[in-house]
Amino acid sequence: MDGIITGISGSTVTVAISGVKLCDMVLVGHAGLIGEVVRLKGEKAIVQVYENTVGMGVGEPVAGTGRQLTVTLGPGLVSNMYDGLQRPLERVRAAMGPFIRPCRDIPPLESAAEWNFEPDRKNGDEVTAGEVIGRIREGAFVHPVTAPCTGRLAQVHGGICTLAGPVARFADGSGVFARQEWPVRRPRPFRRKLPPVLPLVTGQRVIDFLFPLVRGGTAIFPGGFGTGKTILEQTIAKFADVDLVVYVGCGERGNEMAELLEEFRTLRDQRSGASLMSRTIVVVNTSNMPVAAREASIYTAVTMAEYYRDLGLHVLLLADSISRWGEALREISSSLEEMPGEEGYPTYLSSRLAAFCERAGAVETLNGAIGSLTMILSVSPPGGDFSEPVTQACLRTAGVFLMLDTALAHSRHYPAINWSQSYSLYAAGVTGHFTAQVSPGWGEMQQRCRELLQRESTLREVAEIVGAEGLQDADRLLMMTTERIRSEFLCQNAYSDDAFCPPAQTAARMDAILGFHDGVEAGLGLGLSLENVLANISRST
């Protein structure tokens, strides 16, 4: 399984090698850079290298590893920042300074870290493959340790253990480890999928009230630059009602990630009171880091998210932005000289994206617990044009579409979610939940709010022609109410105390605005002028 380099073009390397399989991971060149076999052709393999190939020469060695691109799963993942290949960036920095240079693997999980193993089974017990033999607690998370195969346990070491050594041994000497490897491109198994029905509260009024999310659902928000995609993603990451957040910075800015790290370390999770970082895993491949690793980053992230889902947790995966992933796919495809589809994207863009999005869902895990993986993906359409392939491919799979509007962003209306174009396919299902749990008027208020906004948009066109003075009192009232809905309800400042709004408060706010509207409308019905009614109201309060 060893070979030599015969050709290089960009990050695509041709290798004379035999005995490797498609999608196998190989180590390329004297530097041992990680690569993935993307095509086999006789005695030649085409390898996609996850690093810059500058300086690599013809005839340098290539070694097969016999396994696919995998991630390591186990206790210690949380609070870390990884790159797209699951290299721990903190320790990469400790090893080689502030710049990321090509390097050999640094293990993703600290092998020297000590954990407390609590065994369920004892020496001499017969166990079957997949059976839980004990657990390790990592803060709020409990990691089960499962037997990799069927056999009789010979040694079980309870108490302090590390990830490097086994926590138990079988009679034949093979070990049971507290960590496991999983190929990133293979979804982790579960018993069955459940229909997603429980709402995922984000604390963003416009989302929770008008376009609700569910646990196990998928949402996308496309928007041109400067429309606040990143801030919305980060705000949701801070406040969403989930157990764990996996945040993927896919092809975005480095400063943004530094800011996120700093903020998440200082901010407290409002439910547990612990640092936000203690419920967050960050995967980051900034725009200037190797493109092939950017393509892999979302898979690395989703595999870790699935692992926590399998612990029976509610996990939220936020990716910013999926367009950069699409572009990475396009770059790789074009360097492999594949036939391009629309706008140069490979024709498998939409099927890959759909397969990725299908890894979201509420599931009954193999252990019988209920877990969920929700995805929120931001999309950066070039020129703000939603007809482009990535946005269109996303639209076919997503349950919630939140359209970020450049015009709203320019008028500093944040979150700049356009209320007439966005939709949630889950709205009907979860409205009942909110009506039962939060406010009996939820569904009705939602309907009225939509109606008012709808009527306003037609009225606005009239007002632009005749001027606001020329409108009827009832219409002016409508304009006043919708102005209040926009400024007091739909707008939400991510940098103030208002950044998180619990559902009960959301309902109360809407109730107050609609109450005002009804009050004035009743006054108008008595034949009073709008000014008189408003004067009466301000006097009585």
């Binding site: 020469g57 990321i100 800011e259 900034t286 770059e331 001027g467 606001a468």
Partner: protein, 440 residues
């Protein structure tokens, strides 16, 4: 390492800036080569890709006059940037050769031309205010140290004067001076001499990398990389605060497109290569600050929007990578407003970190928000005015119209004079007071 020099006379084909050499024994990706022309002159080249014994070379320089008998000398090294403190005060061409008539400097260190990505965990958040002297930037779209903030201009607008104004007037909040790294790509002689004049009169240190419009296109791709390698060295090794002005990104992208087409790569939008986002990011992302290091790299790229179109791939991809944008407006320019900055589409994403008590002034955010909000209303009212006329508007809207006019004339249109941040904020607050508008 090779024990003897490898020379080949096996050129099999030449076209544009690309050349195929056959039968090469040992080659590296990105290896530097020298090409000896039949008349004895030489040019530099770089290995672009290889397959078996066939090597594709990209030639930096003129390929006219080359024939298949040309000699190719392989160097066994990849391109590196010579770096030293003594670069300051010098002018180089796009291949890092001095063009100021002075002898070459002695490098203290050889650096990577493309650099390495900064580890996100090692980055320090940009948060130190930079005073540019322009109210429209300082008050409403604040620049901070380590930020990359492009100027989006249109053909015929004074982007040069705005950039020059920032070069002359930029001050660090805590005192101290910038070292300027100036990178010119495809600049006309007129623009070039304008900028050089500004740089020479500034009195602070500068390093210039100049590729003029009639110089090799490939050097347009190299110049910013050398410039940034130099900036990183000065910032992170010599602990200086570096301001990098890169002009014009549009010429850079056109060069990228030209080279990509010559390589017969698949074109993306408008013929620009599909990897343009990653390529631009490899430049812009080199701006920043590093924890535990004193220096910083702040970047001000200038982008001329083709057809005044902000959705054109060049400004579009730039806007996705950079931390905001300063947009110049043709309308304001025609009304004689200088700097003609349209604050509505302009944005500084890092503004909130650089302003407020202890940085600028405690009331900065409130003044900026109020100005922005009322100006946006005024601009909306202008749209109404064109439909219903001033007479048909309610009094409140008419006030907003006047406010927008006054804002453009007095707050944005400050002329060439420098305004300190205090004066900028006072000008904004005074305008709000005059119109009896609240600062909330």
């Amino acid at each position: 390492m090779r024990l003897c020099e490898h020379r080949y006379r096996t050129v099999s084909s030449v076209g544009g800036p690309l050349m195929f050499v056959d039968g090469v024994f040992s080659v590296r990706m990105g290896e530097m080569v020298r090409i000896v022309y039949p008349d004895g002159s030489t040019a530099a080249g770089e290995v672009l890709k290889f397959s078996g014994r066939a090597v594709l070379i990209q030639v930096f320089g003129e390929t006219a006059g080359i024939d298949l008998g040309a000699e190719i000398i392989f160097s066994d090294t990849v391109r590196r940037a010579p770096l030293a403190r003594s670069m300051v005060g010098r002018v180089f061409n796009g291949s890092f050769e001095p063009i100021d008539g002075l002898p070459p400097f002695i490098p203290e260190q050889w650096g990577e031309v493309n650099g390495f990505p900064i580890n996100p965990t090692a980055r320090a958040c940009p948060e130190e205010f930079i005073e540019t002297g322009f109210t429209a930037i300082d008050t409403l779209n604040t620049l901070v140290k380590g930020q990359k903030l492009p100027i989006f201009s249109c053909a015929g607008l004074p982007s040069q004067e705005v950039a020059a104004g920032i070069l002359r007037n930029a001050r660090l909040a805590g005192g101290g001076e910038f070292v300027v790294v100036f990178v010119a790509m495809g600049l006309t002689y007129r623009d070039y001499s304008f900028y050089m004049d500004v740089l020479r009169k500034m009195g602070t240190g500068f390093v210039a990398f100049v590729n003029r419009a009639d110089e090799p296109v490939l050097e347009r791709l190299l110049a910013p990389r050398f410039g940034l390698a130099c900036a990183e060295y000065l910032a992170f090794v010599c602990a200086m605060d570096v301001l990098v002005v890169v002009t014009d990104i549009t010429n850079y992208c056109d060069a990228l497109r030209e080279v990509s087409t010559a390589r017969e790569e698949l074109p993306g939008r408008r013929g620009y290569p599909g990897y343009m986002y990653s390529d631009l990011a490899s430049l812009y992302e080199r701006a920043g600050r590093i924890q535990g290091t004193a220096g910083s790299v702040t970047m001000l790229p200038v982008v001329t929007m083709p057809e005044d179109d902000i959705t054109h791939p060049i400004p579009d991809l730039t806007g996705y990578i950079t931390e905001g944008q300063i947009v110049l407006s043709r309308e304001l320019h025609q009304r004689g407003v200088f700097p003609p900055i349209d604050v509505l589409p302009s944005l500084s994403r890092l503004m909130q970190h650089g302003i407020g008590a202890g940085r600028t002034r405690e009331d900065h955010r409130r003044i900026a928000d109020a100005l922005y909000r009322h100006y946006a209303k005024g601009r909306y009212a202008r749209g109404l005015e064109s439909v219903v006329g001033r007479e048909g508007m309610i009094e409140a809207d008419r006030v907003m119209l006047d406010f927008a006019d006054a804002f453009e004339a007095e707050v944005v249109g400050q002329g060439a004079a420098r305004r300190a941040i205090g004066a900028s904020l006072d000008a904004g607050a005074a305008l709000l007071r005059r119109f009896f508008l609240e600062v909330t």
